[in-house]
Symmetry: C2
Subunit: 305 residues, 2 copies
DNA sequence: TTGTACGCGTTATCAA
DNA sequence: TTGATAACGCGTACAA
């Protein structure tokens, strides 16, 4: 593997001149440029990416912390992130945590070690206090509404969308609802908001009307069994695929509402909230590369069917 | 940001000793190790990842070339890849091409520039001849059966699974079928195999019984319209989500068969092929990190419903 | 327009 | 068990 010094030696010019050719610096005579390019071609020279990154101090790489892929919520978000990152010449590296706090911290350490130019946290496994100090190492974007931050947050409008759904429930005369959620309210802002609003809107609501750890369609089926004897009239789910799992077990049993506006909800004629996750991912990248600053709440659509 | 030399200066020991502490090298006296660790802690020192990568010549990073995310096929594959990579201490960076050959080559150049320890090509935009030379820069794994390679390929068993489906069609007395495909047969081995076998099994088959560029559920709906007057009895699709799109437009009109074994196919009671994409992704990583060698064809399941 | 020399932050070799 | 020093490969002030 030839390096820049080899090219310098082979052409008889200096390392800097070769570097200028590599970087399209105009201050190189045409003749030398041609010759240098010829030699580079001949020995199949390719500048080392890591060395450049070290020298310049930038990697053109954005790290994305998420629990896992192959889940509608994160895949949508990721789609927006990759699209936007790509358009700006950034690559995206996946940092899967499976919600393990230790693993997440290891990634934060890597970020601190300058592995990525920026970090996007789509969902976290540690308390926010653990993460905040790492902001001194570079840009960290949160896909979550962190109240005491005025910059670097982009989030879907859970607060308003859920209120609209719950108001809709009331209009339909519904008194008692169940909800499905992904994980304990400790860290998930979605869980926190959902539970709070459920209590606000429904005096009948209680902790045993929550079906936790609900991630997949299969989990949705189990949720259906769980709610069978709970006397709820409607179920507010944490995803269309979950809603579909529930609906498949007991069609028409409850007013089931999903999220994400997946095709499956159209197919089953289930109402759903489109939280514009794709746009959220794109905004996250804009924040990550400092193209934008501030906090951004995405608009949403409640699709009634 | 303190560096290793700062730590050396601050502790009064040499850079090498500090490096040994960082890397848990046993040849350091306990007293020095303690003191060095204390100072590292105090000034919040974190070894620079890029510098280590440059020095060692490895990045612990696997690049994955794919057209886009948020598509069942690639999301499944990616899920297997991230899981397996994670378990082995590798990170995964997404290299989205959107099927642009130029972009793909740019990624290959980055690979040649030592940006990744290995490359996994899940789908390509260039002819195989363009890619092969890059194997001299490091490990490249193809998720595709490349006949004249005896190593570094892992692929789903399209040949046999499609034969089984087509045989099943014949058993059902079906004489004329339509197929949906993602993109031109030039580069997609799936398209190539499907078209070849369709001709082999069905004398009635012709090019106008192919609905191309079929990627999403919405495309599936268009496919349904396309096949409305083609007189086909069955449609072999390139994905359960596409199959669902077709089925939604004209339930029971055709015998529709999907692929990927998504939940939606269970819901609609559509037959499907489970190609074990997750396992394919995991195997790709094992090949990438040289834990395995050779070619691997994944087993499949034809799920009749 | 060109070249020298140093910085980027580590790891590895070798001598002590 | 330690430390000096040379890689690793590139970018870039600075001087010429």
């Amino acid at each position: 593997m030839a390096n820049i010094r080899d090219i310098a030696r082979l052409t008889g010019y200096s390392v800097s001149t070769v570097s200028r050719v590599i970087n399209n610096n105009p201050y190189v005579s045409e003749e030398k440029r041609r010759k240098i390019l010829a030699v580079m071609e001949e020995v199949n020279y390719i500048p080392n990416y890591t060395a450049r990154a070290l020298s310049v101090g930038k990697t053109k790489n954005i790290g994305v912390i998420l629990p896992f892929v192959n889940h509608p919520y994160f895949d949508r978000l990721l789609s927006g992130i990759t699209t936007a990152a790509f358009a700006r010449g950034y690559k995206v590296t996946l940092l899967a945590t499976n919600y393990d706090p230790q693993v997440e911290e290891a990634y934060l350490q890597e970020f601190a070690a300058k592995s990525f130019d920026a970090l996007i946290i789509t969902s976290r496994a540690n308390p926010i206090e653990t993460l905040l100090p790492y902001r001194s190492y570079g840009r960290i974007v949160f896909c979550e509404n962190i109240s005491y931050l005025t910059d670097g947050c982009t989030y879907i409008d859970r607060e308003e969308s859920i209120k609209e759904v719950f108001t809709y429930f009331k209009e339909q005369g519904i008194q008692k609802i169940g909800v499905t959620l992904g994980r304990s309210r400790k860290l998930s802002s979605n869980s926190k908001i959902t539970v709070r609003l459920a209590h606000d809107y429904f005096s009948t609501f209680s902790e045993d009307l929550i079906f936790w750890d609900c991630l997949t369609e299969e989990d949705g089926k189990e949720a259906a069994a769980y709610f069978a004897d709970k006397g709820v009239e409607a179920i507010f789910t944490n995803g269309d695929h979950v809603a579909a799992g529930i609906q498949s077990q007991a069609p028409g049993e409850w007013l089931v509402i999903g999220r994400d506006n997946l095709y499956i909800s159209e197919l089953l004629q289930l109402s759903t909230i489109d939280h514009h996750l794709q746009a959220c991912g794109e905004t996250a990248v804009q924040l990550a590369v400092m193209e934008k600053s501030g906090n951004y709440r995405m608009p949403y659509e409640f699709i009634k069917r």
